[in-house]
């Protein structure tokens, strides 16, 4: 579990340069956090294009609001922007009630994951199926639980930082993480053949 790390002096200087309008300084921040921002956005939305748009919008918002950044944990501040932008997109999707074309036709040739060439095709296929199953299980969670689970279990954020990102008390974060894990576990138990033997009751 990661602990909240105070921004290094280098990062503080980069933030100050970016606040002054230096594009290259802001690009450094983008390069540092774009992976995690995209990962959170993709897990929240499960849509590549929408996640990319969310990340782009989040960075634009961050750049505009950089002057108002009061210091502290820049990563938490940025992830809060990403999370709020994801919530906005989810609300918009709920209003429009649209179906993603990606859900209708899954492009198995373009699964956004790294390929380990050492494993056999069978194990690769099983791993891909399990990953797809887990991703689907994550998507069944409510957005609030989803965010807490992704930040905590996938990206290793501490409870305190998750509480800061979500703007919630610590107890609420604990509860959401616990419920999310239980729901996901029960979901995974629906297909025990994909799970390791020790996982099965």
């Amino acid at each position: 579990m990661q602990m909240i790390s105070a921004p290094s002096s280098d990062e503080q200087q980069i933030i100050m340069r970016a606040t002054a309008g230096e594009t290259q300084a802001f690009n450094l921040l983008v390069l540092k956090y774009q992976d995690i921002a995209y990962s959170v956005a993709y897990r929240m939305l499960r849509d590549e294009a929408a996640a990319a748009d969310v990340v782009q919008d989040s960075f634009i918002k961050a750049f505009r609001a950089l002057a108002g950044f009061q210091g502290g944990n820049f990563r938490s501040w940025l992830m809060r922007i990403v999370a709020n932008t994801c919530y906005d997109v989810l609300r918009a999707q709920q209003r429009r009630a649209t179906d993603s074309l990606d859900d209708l036709a899954v492009d198995h040739d373009h699964i956004p994951s790294l390929v380990d060439r050492a494993e056999s095709p069978e194990s690769y296929a099983e791993r891909m199926e399990l990953n797809h199953f887990i991703e689907a299980g994550i998507h069944t969670l409510p957005p609030e639980q989803r965010l807490a689970l992704v930040l905590c279990d996938i990206h290793g954020y501490a409870y305190e930082e998750i509480a800061e990102i979500a703007g919630l008390p610590m107890g609420t974060v604990k509860s959401r993480i616990s419920r999310a894990r239980l729901r996901l576990r029960d979901y995974l138990l629906n297909k025990p053949e994909l799970l390791p033997a020790s996982f099965r009751p």
Binding site: M1, G21, T23, Q24, F26, N27, V30, L31, Q34, D35, A37, Y38, S39, Y42, E48, A49, A52, D53, V55, Q56, D57, F59, I60, F63, R64, A92, R95, P112, S113, L114, L130, N131, I134, E135, I138, L149, C152, D153, I154, G156, Y159, K174, S175, I177, S178, R181, L182, L184, R185, L188, L195, P196, S198, F199, P201
Partner: protein, 409 residues
Amino acid sequence: MTVSRHQPMNEELLSAYLDNEVTDEERALVEAAIAADPAIAWQVDSLRQTIHLLQELPALTLPRAFTIEAIVTEAKRQEAIRTPAPNMGAPNMGAPNMGAPNIGKKPAFAQQASNEDQTGDWWQWLQQIWQGGNLPLRNAAALAFTLMLVLLVSNRFVAPYQPPGSQENTPIIIQTATNGTGSGNRTANSASTKVTAQLETTPLLESSGTASTTQPPVASVIQEQAIETTSEKLPVQTETTTAESTAMTLRGSVRGPGADEDDLTGGSPNAAMQSAQSEGAASPMQDSARTAMTASFAQSANASTSLTTALSTTVITNHNAQNQTTTVLTLTPTVTVTLTDSVMVEAMTPSVSLSTDITESLEQPTPTEAIRDEVTNRAGSTNRWLEWAQLITALCAVVLGGLWWRSRE
């Protein structure tokens, strides 16, 4: 789910235990429970493996870079793809128009952001409304549509719609005369008009028609129908008589719609009088009205005189054209009978209730206060108000609907 054998322990505690977010006491408690209860041990183990599976998820590859230059390039690409849309100079969050890349300098959207700070939040808010979805805007549009529907519906109830030229909506002119000194016109909607005149008379006089002068006909009564009635001396009685006439009868007796108008009453008051006084020209509708009102009058009048009455929808006036007593009976809330020349007698003091579902306003209101009080004139003003309200609401609905349509993107 609470573990039964360890009440203080719940799954939230187990989850926190896996994350090392527990105190030493809680950790000891959980470990003791795990050692004592296999179910708790499986719970902890399954949760741990769930976390492990999540941690083993592969890292995602970025579909594109998100640096400023990449964002600018992506924005230009999307701008080229998108259909040109009205641009009010506002940034598009989905595809920001940030101009050409300007490395080393403050980016265009950053410059724009600083400008927006100077302009104020209201301009940004307007831009957001114009550029993207806005829930308050949609709610306002929905409210405007709802108001328009409510106004349309309420208009139906308050004042029925009257298409021009419709036979069902030909107004009825109800005319009155009080002591021959005044007359009043009022317009009523004849679509479902049912006029009921109740005459409660009291015995007043026995008079013979020996008047020497002639009371001129009530010329001011327009479009009336003269009905000659000769009543014999009737016993004095008090009786309530109801004269009812259907809408068609009233229309026929007063003013026929369309091409039949001239045939029935003529195009002018004089023509109406002439037509009414001519028995041969009387139509069946006229007869119907005459019968009703004659019976009413004959029973109510205790007179041995020959009366000539002029009937106007709900008003009966009489006149004598042959040097006989002329009685003008006006169906007003206070009905009076005027004996011309020799005697002016309060012939009858009946109470007349005139009930109609009149919905039109007074047209050319006259000093006849009784009639004016009786007629409800709120419908006309309500109609005008509703028309304006509908017009304004419709305009608002169109504008808001257009903005909403644009905000769908």
